[in-house]
Symmetry: C3
Subunit: 347 residues, 3 copies
């Protein structure tokens, strides 16, 4: 068995520059969510009620603010920012898969491909002609890197990611298992007898520091590039259509779908299952609540949106509230009509 | 060619404890949906109209109730419960892929992994360090079982399922092709310059008897566990976020998305494309119609829901019906206003 | 490095039967979207404003109509139909992956499988018992073709497509990476203690000329067939349930979900994220805007639809417009009520 990470209270205090309260050799085996009963767990609390909840169950230690009031007998790690410190704790216990440098003997690497000696190629991975795997990149088992595609320095393709041909991944990216980059854009023209395929000959270009969740799809451009801007993050099962350009630091939650030829500005954020039709241009910083939709050929200003078709969130919520009163309104309207009938009859 | 299963009327009658009507040696090559024309097919009918439809086309035999009235000349299998008996028929004709016990010579199994001799490991499968494959489990071709992950007794991973590290699958589960368990939860914190990654160091824990469809994704917890309760069933392309806990016997139809940190009670059922935002708590037995949505940080009582945002189904349908009258109401309102104008003028 | 395709203006003119305007040996390295600045790019324009936009930036050459008015100094390819001609240009520059005929030495092909000598089987592909790979078919790396499944002549399975057993693919199909055909239909019966599985023993049958996007799922029938009609095209992350039958030339955009036992007529078109519940019958030629939904057990006539539940698009848009006025209407209604109160009081 590989050794489980484990730290004492004192060791964690040293790493966090925290003030420890409790037995220095208290063993803390794992980080846990606040409220979990786990005498070997370490958790955190950012305010009084959360702290009360965390301290109500058996817990190894709690990361808290310098001045937090805590009941007797609970081991603590006092820090300036409990949330940030807890992220450090998480990193200490992280056992994410890491692939050793070098090419696994079962991998299939084309002779014309270039694999940096510090890169890792996993079992049964396929690296096709003229592909480039840069320094420190990790390409896990069952990945497919197509002709002329590139995996930038330090980027990770988790098991069975597919890059078709001419897909360029920047440095420091993480692409999760099952994602497909560079499949054909969805382009057909009805010729009177059948949907004739429009050849899809462009590329996919992904900037540095991008994270893509599991089983997501980013289609190649018809011509030119489908682009994912540096620092953008997308969750699982996301669809990005051909020739769409995402800016930098865009955040897409699970199952978002963006059609083709969209321009998504820097810092745009979309909740789960949002759908954007084709040729939509979204201003930097716009935000969309879950399940919102934008219809084709529109420009969307910076605002927070909700609904389908999406409206500024305040307007959308006002309409939703009004809709609940609609069945009653219909009845009241009939009643009012009768009263006017009577007034007219009396005239 | 592998032998196709084929049964005579008499053989099926014996297996079903049915009363056969028709030639005992009648060959029945396959089960078919009611209404399919297939002289070698066997189908079923639970009531008069369905029986009439099934008997209207050429059909080998029909599984019917003991007392069903059936036209002359149709071969029958009379049983107490036609539907249940037909499920037995389906099982008799089932030719689901089965993997032979043992490790395929092309598979890559880490020396520290534990594979039960009765388990099956398919071609090009990868079993990483300290993984455990229990008795009778079937891990099909191209699967990846990460470090310290476990496949419980008799569970099946169909081709190219990915389990990242620390993913624990119970006994008797079926996980379909392309599903990914244990990819990182979607957690980032904006630090003023970029979305900083929150390490995702928890696990995924799947109970016994769970079925997961194709290309679904269940993310690992930030810390602690993402949990799928025993006996839960989910369809294809489903997303379950980090730290979410599904109870037992939950049913999720295709393309459902559940965000992080949700608590989904036992027996909850969701139709296709339902979306649940983060930190939602849903009471046992609640039901959601297709495309319904629940916004963040809510508690949802047991009821049947529909719409986005979802409402009790009766209320939702009343609102939908009223909405259809809304354009007309706007006109009628203007007319009524004019009548009141006139009454006031006449005063 | 494999040679990049490159054509001179004259060479393109010859291929397109176009009238060239400009230096015959002008090198055109790649097709680009209109409006892209690229002195080696070739683009196209179908009308005046688009042509103006295309000519506003440095560009190698523009494919335009025979009579289009174009500013001096821009190289042109004059043709009858710029769009159609540009599709030919795209095809000329296409460098889609192609697999060489023959079985890759690392592939695992069962002895009982039949692989045509002109077919291609990629690295680490698995072809199971009694499977058939017809002439000219390309099965890329990491694909899994289950027992008794068939890949028709000239069809392409891009890397890591899964066909379970008894999945029949016609001729000239393209199935993109990560798609799964033949996973179990989602059928369970609650028996008072658990969701009992209904065996799924039918097939998937895909007609000729079908294209299926990446990470899509088509489930096998409970019994009988799930069918995809010839010439149908579907995008990424699409779900088609068990026993559903798609007609010919159906078009499904990304993330569409169709439940089980539906009948989708010829030429039906659905926008992104449309959801169709079970047992729905849709007439040929019906169209659905993005995110539309159809509830279970309905028949849908030929029309254009929108919304959830979907309505004829004109009615849906009228209701959406009216909804925006609803909060105001509620206020106006209160005001009118007060006026009637006063009239009654004065009476």
């Amino acid at each position: 068995m590989s050794q489980e990470p484990s730290f004492t209270l004192q060791q964690l205090a040293d790493r966090l520059s925290a003030e420890p309260v409790g037995p220095p050799d208290l063993r803390l085996a794992r980080p846990v969510p606040a409220g979990t009963a786990d005498p070997e767990g370490v958790t955190f609390a950012t305010d009084g009620p959360k702290l009360a909840a965390a301290a109500q169950v058996p817990i190894g230690a709690i990361v808290v603010g310098r001045d937090a009031e805590v009941p007797e007998g609970v081991a603590l790690l006092r820090v300036d920012s409990p949330r940030a410190a807890f992220h450090t704790v998480l990193a200490l216990y992280d056992r994410t898969m890491e692939a050793p440098p070098g090419v696994h003997p079962t991998a299939h690497v084309d002779l014309s491909a270039s694999v940096d000696p510090t890169a890792s190629i996993g079992a049964f991975a396929v690296i096709e002609a003229d592909a480039v795997i840069e320094a420190g990149a990790q390409v896990f088992a069952h990945c497919f890197v197509g002709p002329r595609s590139r995996v930038g320095a330090g980027s990770i393709l988790f098991p069975r990611v597919t890059l078709y041909h001419d897909v360029l991944i920047g440095a420091g990216c993480r692409i999760h298992s099952g994602s497909v980059l560079g499949a054909d854009g969805f382009g057909f023209v009805w010729n009177g007898r059948e949907h004739q395929k429009v050849p899809q000959v462009g590329r996919v270009v992904v900037g540095d520091g991008v994270e893509i969740g599991a089983n997501s799809c980013i289609d190649r451009a018809t011509c030119g590039d489908t682009e994912i801007g540096a620092g953008s993050k997308m969750d699982n099962l996301v669809q990005v259509g051909h020739n769409t350009r995402l800016g930098r630091f865009v955040v897409l939650a699970g199952q978002v779908g963006i059609s083709g030829s969209c321009q998504i500005g820097d810092g745009v954020a979309m909740g789960g299952q949002v759908g954007i039709s084709d040729h939509v241009e979204i201003a930097p910083g716009a935000q969309f609540g879950g399940k919102s939709g934008v219809m084709a050929m529109r420009r969307v200003e910076k605002d927070a949106y909700f609904g389908m078709p999406s409206l500024p969130v305040r307007e959308a919520l006002r309409i939703i509230a009004a809709q609940k009163k609609l069945p009653e309104l219909l009845k009241e309207f009939k009643a009012l009509e009768r009263r006017v009938d009577e007034l007219e009859a009396d005239k």
